[in-house]
Symmetry: C2
Subunit: 517 residues, 2 copies
């Protein structure tokens, strides 16, 4: 038994099943240990952002941590952007970072970096292992931290990986949710009673089936509005769920929506505020002086908190009464006409199978996918939680490995896709059921839009060169095939419908480049 094996054994005992890895020389003991801990499946990513994004996707579907295995500071740095998204989305992840042998570090070898400082920027919990003896207990502690919806990071010097720990590995992780706070819930009941138009803002775990069921009861009992955060990590969608209004991205629209309400209860969500600091100075989206209350903490199970609140508000309403509040299935027709983002999203909505997982990193092009949230057969959707682009293709990889029997559809902006396109290779290697729809508008359209909004209505040559992705146009069919994923390009709505249908009918990954008008 080595320190590395001790860590993997502890993780396996806690139910960890997968490790997204890009190891190097300082992780060789982990590589060897993976042969001895067959409960954990290693998945190679050809860039660390693929590993961390895949761990995020896996964690969003299973609510269990995946491991990542990353090489020193530079390897971890390459994974930071997608860990930022995971941290914002409260995905459980345990990163294992190999570190130089302790006795070499004072000599500042070439690859030496301040890993702890890097780790601190995206980890809710991080620690460097100080000896093989504590490898198991450190791992158990890290896993427990992750299960609260946190990114945990263990830095493991190579000599502690190879040393033999004298103690047994820990087979149980000490983790449990705290009970709901009765005072907070009592206050919430009062707030709802006093408000004329209360709203419940739901995020994170509140957007899973159990949380939504409790929210529907609260709505039935109080007539409060149900809102959802703009960029949740995961939400259950489709017919039979309460109808939620998504808080808009732009401050003006968001303020306008929220101005309708006079009290806000938040579950799995913090106070909604602006994405960027636009001229005009909007920070919070809530109306001034409207009371707001956070119902839960990270250490509580949001669904249980909502159920408890619901029970304080009176006995549950029956199915018939509830039914009028819940969404009905009304799949849209197949679109006709120009191949624009709207028609593309409508076609996806019309054809997506029940139980599918939609990854939405379409940025500007994916916006109208939210129009169909309530009217389709049950599915779930994952969004860009932290704004760090390059999430979609890795996330789809991880989600597909978490749910091999489900279809994953990745609505993927072209500019964002370029950040982590290496994920396609892992999709091919692991034979994942992912259909990637590249929204090829050949520009950073959102930034162009933001530039216009900021008043730069006549960008010059220099500015334009930084916002466009043409000259040369990316050829996504070649890029995809280069990594082993079959692909086609379409430029009419009819061709897209045909290609998307065909892709859904075949197992394994497929990519469709949608050349948008």
């Amino acid at each position: 038994m080595t320190g590395a094996e001790s860590i993997l054994q502890t993780a396996a005992a806690a139910g960890v099943k997968i490790c997204f890895a890009n190891p190097g020389t300082t992780e060789l003991d982990f590589v060897g240990a993976l042969d001895k801990v067959p409960q954990i499946r290693p998945v190679l990513g050809l860039f660390e952002g693929v590993c961390t994004g895949a761990a995020d996707g896996y964690g969003r579907i299973t609510e269990k941590p995946a491991l990542t295995l990353l090489h020193l500071g530079p390897g971890f740095a390459n994974g930071i952007a997608n860990l930022h998204n995971a941290r914002r989305g409260r995905t459980p992840i345990l990163n294992l970072i190999g570190e130089h042998t302790t006795w070499l570090r004072p000599h500042d070898p070439h690859l030496n970096m301040d890993i702890a400082s890097l780790a601190g920027t995206v980890s809710d919990w991080h620690r460097e292992i100080s000896a093989a003896e504590t490898a198991s207990s450190d791992t158990a502690e890290a896993l427990a931290a992750s299960l609260y919806g946190q990114v945990a990071t263990l830095i493991v010097p190579a000599d502690h990986q190879s040393a033999a720990p004298p103690t047994e590995t820990i087979s149980q992780v000490d983790f449990s949710f705290q009970s709901p706070d009765e005072d907070v819930l009592a206050h919430a009941v009062t707030m709802i009673g006093e408000a004329k138009r209360p709203a419940l803002i739901l995020g994170h775990r509140a957007l899973r089936r159990e949380g939504l069921a409790a929210a529907a009861q609260i709505q039935a009992k109080t007539d409060c509005a149900l809102l959802m955060t703009t960029f949740p990590a995961y939400f259950d969608a489709g017919a039979g769920l309460p109808i939620l209004q998504r808080i808009p991205y732009f401050p003006g629209q968001a303020r306008k929506l929220l101005a309708r309400y006079d009290a806000f209860l938040m579950a799995g969500a913090s106070e909604p505020s602006a994405f960027f600091g636009y001229a005009g100075g909007i920070t919070s989206y809530l109306p001034d002086k409207a009371p707001c209350l956070r119902l839960d903490t990270r250490r509580q199970n949001t669904a249980v908190v909502l159920e408890e609140l619901s029970s304080l508000l009176g006995p549950d309403v029956g199915p018939a009464e509830l039914h009028r509040l819940l969404s009905q299935c009304a799949v849209p027709d197949l679109p006709a006409g120009p191949l624009n983002a709207r028609n593309m999203c409508q076609a996806i909505a019309a054809l997506q199978p029940e139980g599918c997982i939609v990854v939405e990193e379409g940025i500007s092009s994916g916006a109208s996918s939210y129009d169909y949230v309530s009217c389709l057969k049950p599915y779930c959707q994952l969004t860009l939680t932290g704004g760090a682009i390059g999430m979609g293709m890795p996330l789809a990889l991880g989600a597909a490995l978490a749910a091999p029997d489900r279809r994953v559809i990745d609505i993927q902006a072209d500019g964002s896709a370029m950040y982590t396109l290496q994920a396609l290779w892992s999709q091919a290697r692991e034979k994942t059921n992912v259909v990637t729809v590249i929204c090829s508008n050949r520009k950073y359209f959102t930034i162009e839009l933001e530039s216009l909004r900021a008043g730069n209505t006549a960008p010059g040559k220099a500015a334009k060169s930084l916002l466009t992705l043409d000259q040369p146009a990316l050829d996504w069919v070649n890029l995809s095939r280069g990594m082993g994923v079959p692909a086609t390009s379409v430029n009419t709505t009819e061709a897209f419908i045909r290609a998307f249908r065909a892709a859904l009918a075949e197992p394994g990954p497929y990519l469709i480049e949608v050349v948008l008008e």
Copy 2:
């Protein structure tokens, strides 16, 4: 005039000519300002690692800082690995990072991160601008710091970018090298006199033409050996220069070489030590008790220090006497036989044009390129300074933009190439004269080798899956064409010679996938 313009004007006045950029909403004022400061050419990279690697390549060729323009914490994080290489190679770079508007930051918007902590890990100098008023002076200070061979980073909140600074921009950067330290040089003279077999270890600026000329004189006067660091940022190579022995990568070989000498003077180099902490515990490569002395500091010009040392050692020897120490031109024949890494490197050496720039990130496959350092027509070579893979293709982009009239040849490992393959698109867009030679061995061969060395002689299925890049094999012709760079694949030595010759004869970028035996 805005804060952003003030920064760019200051940089332009200091001679900055290029900005490798991937901006977002928090950098829109910089985007607009680039239209108003035409002296600075914006070059778009589709991933930040491309931008930072290109800035490294540009800086290595020109010894002047390029700008990077990066989006918030996640964008900067994506650029860290190649900034680590730049820092290790002492390349001057000035990073500009857009930061959230100051008044929004307390609300912790989605993309908010601790940028200063990230910046600190790879920057020799970093600061957040506190007002538009100081934008120009902060920039001048950052540029001066960079000119000492340092990575400098300015974090610029969006509101300070758009605010109007009342003062004039600074048009002169306060930068000069310190004089050599006479005490250190006197000590060096004594050391050389007392040693039986002294060695001069050259790195960084000592490996440019002027430093090498001084080193040759020192060798002629003292009969000292000339060694070079294993992974220098840049070295002038080819006939007419002194013959240097490169310190080997593996500790055993390095210790063996250095055991021949009994005193070490280091110029542009610190004490050579192990890359990784292998069993056996080797840290420093120098023989025990051998005296060693660093001749220069970062604030001194290493070439001037060497010239000064040379003059203390006596009058210069004449050209005839010097000639016997300098290398002679002896271009190797074109190879025949199997297409392995050795023959590939020999063919490149045989065909590379005078004045070319060789970027070497071949890892295991590029090793024998160093066999030809002394015998070719004059050229220069850039290596993987910090061990963070994914350097080569961005570096080649930056080097080609720094020297548009020269040929850049990138000897590029396939595993490393996948890290930042987006650089090919910028190579195509900017029409750079880069020939990329992909060494396609379809594995992480170095890690496999290190694994063997560590005693794991029979890796199991899990371990093997993490070290191989086949299943599916990457198709570099498709990947390259997908980004607009024409390409071909070869699997015989004859075909490689033909393709490489043809690529050198045409302007613009080209990629050759060399499928190695």
